[in-house]
């Protein structure tokens, strides 16, 4: 494999215009859905909140797959492992903080 060909694939997998267009269309759809939950009264607030979380997670996955080209290939393995570990940290930080602070808040009331 020549040095140039190697560089192009480096950490990015195979890149194609179609990949970006598909990712863009999906991301726009999910963004419109998210804003729709807030700007219209089609669904109840409870459904809208859950919908917002689902749309955000889906959109992040779309970005990771179509823009950052993460997949299950061996070249991407360590990137994915690092991301998964960081996601675990993120969950511990956010959920842990909220748990501690809300419990504290309710005990102080």
């Amino acid at each position: 494999m020549s040095q140039e060909a190697h560089n192009e694939n480096m950490g990015a997998g195979h890149i194609s215009t179609k990949h970006y267009i598909v990712g863009f269309v999906l991301a726009v759809l999910l963004t419109v859905v998210s804003f729709g939950f807030v700007m219209t009264d089609v669904v109840s607030k409870q459904v809208a909140v859950i919908g917002l979380f689902v749309a955000a997670v889906l959109q992040m996955l779309v970005h990771l797959h179509y823009f950052l080209h993460l997949d299950r290939s061996s070249e991407q393995r360590w990137n994915v492992i690092a991301l998964a570990f960081t996601a675990l940290l993120l969950f511990i930080f956010v959920a842990g903080t909220m748990w501690v602070m809300y419990t504290l808040n309710s005990r102080m009331m």
């Binding site: 190697h6 194609s16 970006y20 990712g23 991301a27 726009v28 979380f53």
Partner: protein, 207 residues
Amino acid sequence: MNTDITNLDAAKARELEHAHHLEMKTFGFWIYLMSDLVIFSVLFATFAVHGKNYAGGPTPQQLYDIPYLFVETMFLLVSSVTYGLSMVAMQHNNKKMVLVGLVITFLLGLGFVSMEIHEFYGMIMSNAGPDRSGYLSSFFTLVGTHGTHVSFGLLWMGIMMYQVVKRGFTAEVRSRLMRLSLFWHFLDIVWVGVFTVVYLLGWMGVS
């Protein structure tokens, strides 16, 4: 004859080593991005705790302009795609298209930052600055940290446009453009979290 083969092997080994080195650089940059994600996650946690501490001050419903936010979001999303298309052009060694893509990405990113600064300015002027309440402190810290990242991305992009013009697609320039690509897409992912949690859920009075 024997030495020729040895030289050839040595050259090949050097080339492989170089490629390996660049790959390690990309992975190292990915690890940096993950540590950056840790910073953002703590700021998200802070916002989750303080998001409703209005201290009698303005609430998200009074401060946010949702259609304005939608335009801002689209600027960043389209800029992510134009950067990606610029990288496709780099694969085909199309210097002109790479530069066109980078210029469009830069302008969209600049539009995003300008809209954010305009929003911050309006808020601070109407007595809704970071010192007003716990909610606003955590709002400005989280959204401001993201905006600062985008601004540094723009600076980096400006430098890369200069390097593409001056040096062309050398191995170093290519690898830097790939890392900026990771950085730029990463910031768009963080923005998805920001507009969902801070703006939309905040508007609904949830976070």
